[in-house]
């Protein structure tokens, strides 16, 4: 799916020099992936696209701080920038603290198996995550995808650790429920 050349090094070098061609290739190669990252955090396509735009401006501006550390390091670096941009957005708009608990969250839920998750298409899973209340979603993303500890999440979002843990638990509960439902309807 990705055009593989220029390679990461050439690409980053080109972008560092402000080479438009390199920038364009970087965008074309990574924008889709970066958009999905933003979307997973903000849950809204238009907002995610705005953030993607801002994120790329930030990326092009920050290339002198980028050091290539092996295959994949470019993408990882860009993702971090996108996540930061997204978190900034969420914090700025005070969205996280506004998040309200969904009423009917089961205290207990039946966990799906890995095999069941496997059956569900990517975009459907993305939809489940996007539908999470913003607080749940943010904690869930940071914990699951960025592998942050609750302590780190608490610091990042300016909430307490317990809150982080409980939001994660609830997020998982909602997702588990959605997975089961989907399997019932489509299985």
């Amino acid at each position: 799916m990705f055009k593989k050349r220029m390679n990461e090094i050439e690409l980053s070098e080109g972008c560092r020099q402000g080479d438009n061609r390199a920038r364009k290739q970087l965008y074309e190669q990574y924008a889709g992936r970066m958009l999905s990252v933003c979307l997973r955090y903000v849950g809204d396509k238009d907002t995610a696209q705005d953030l993607l735009h801002d994120g790329f401006l930030k990326i092009f501006d920050s290339f002198d701080k980028f050091t290539w550390r092996g295959e994949g390091s470019l993408r990882a670096w860009m993702e971090r920038i996108m996540i930061n941009i997204s978190l900034q957005y969420l914090r700025k708009n005070d969205i996280i603290s506004q998040s309200t608990a969904i009423e009917e969250i089961p205290e207990e839920y039946e966990e799906p198996t890995a095999g069941e998750v496997e059956l569900i298409p990517q975009n459907v899973l993305m939809g489940f995550i996007n539908d999470l209340p913003v607080g749940y979603r943010t904690v869930f993303n940071l914990y699951t995808f960025e592998e942050k500890s609750h302590k780190e999440i608490a610091e990042l979002l300016n909430i307490n650790e317990k809150s982080s843990a409980s939001q994660l638990f609830r997020a998982k509960g909602v997702l588990a429920k959605r997975v089961k439902e989907w399997l019932l309807n489509n299985g």
Binding site: M1, M6, I9, E10, E13, G14, R16, Q17, G18, D19, N20, R21, R23, K24, Y27, E28, A31, G32, R33, L35, S36, L39, R40, A48, Q49, L52, H53, F56, L57, F60, D61, D64, E111, P112, T113, A114, E116, V117, E118, I120, Q122, N123, L125, M126, I129, T144, F145, K172, L175, A176, V179
Partner: protein
Amino acid sequence: MEEKELWMNKLKEKLTDYSEPIPEFGWEQLEKELVPPPVERRIFPYRRWSIAAVAAVFVAVVSSVSFYFLQTPVADEMRELSTKSIANIPDVLPNKNTPDIKGEQIAPVVRPLDRRRKDRIAKASPSIIAPANCIEANTNKQPIENTDKVPADLAQPSVSDDQNAGENLSEGTGKEETEKVAVTKAPRKPSSRDKLQIPTEKPSTKSGKWSTGVAVGNTLGASSTNNLGMSSTFQRVNLTALPGGMVEIPKNQVLYFQDGVPFLRSLDAIESIEHHQPISLGLSIRKELKYGFSVETGLTYTMLSSDAKMYSGEKFKQQLHCVGIPIRANWSFYNKKLLSMYVSGGGAIEKSVYGKLGSEKLTVKPFQFSLTGAVGVQFNATNKIGFYVEPGVSYFFDDGSNVQTIRKENPFNFNLQAGIRFTY
């Protein structure tokens, strides 16, 4: 707990590479905001030019060093040494040779052997022994002049130079005196081979690039000539008085002495050859690897041209057109959008595809192998295409043929290559 991790892991795994469709016009919108270039881009043109200037100076310095080297006495020496070996292969021993006894009449002349000077002299003094003169006008009979002496070490090339082209001997002996062939010998160390020498000679001296040789003259003492300016000395040469000692020299051959022993040699042989700086053009394909390394191959075209002087006195242009395939590894130590600089090393195999000596075809069968090292500057026209200039050094292995080229004379040489390179 286990199970929980598993489904979450699966979910993470499934979404790790998930990509949304790229928003329409996303890049165009972004590009608009990128147009006012960031700070770094603004200073870039300045840097670019200064880099280009530095690169140009660098190339100029390296090239002029090589050019300088080619002009130095060292390079000259190398040339002389190697020409000597070609120039003096005797073809035939004359069956008859009567040395001139009237040595007293002959004034030894100090003759410069230095090639750089020779040219100047040559202009001033037309050749006496143009082939037409010696052969046609004289029905193949030519009196031999005896010479006095030539310092042994540098004598050979100069002797041969002189006698046929007759550059130095000259006006006095003149055109009227077409019957003579200048003969020289190298006498410093008498040996059994010196039998034919004329006794009047005296050792002459040389220093540095200068050596003295002796041509036939009238009455001038050998010793007096050593330190004279050469133009005055060789003007005195007068061969008219030379009487006896006729020897028959077959057509198309010429007599010359080596260490006092006379030889005949074909006029068609190359007497001396002067090589020009080879010019190479290249087309190369480079494959980039990591960390600035790259490998490269391609096609080079090189023209080796030389001015050859035959024993007949005629001058011909020798040209060899070679096509080569280099294989090299490069490391780029400076790499920007428009310019990159690199060092490279490798080898090449070359084949002469067409050659000419005068109007005759010249074939060089064997392949020519070489090792090369170079420093290069490349100006990138696009991402894939660039123009490069590369001063470098090469070592050429002897290809075993007997065609003389600069590579044989001077197997380790400097060169300058320019070309077009495709990078992918």
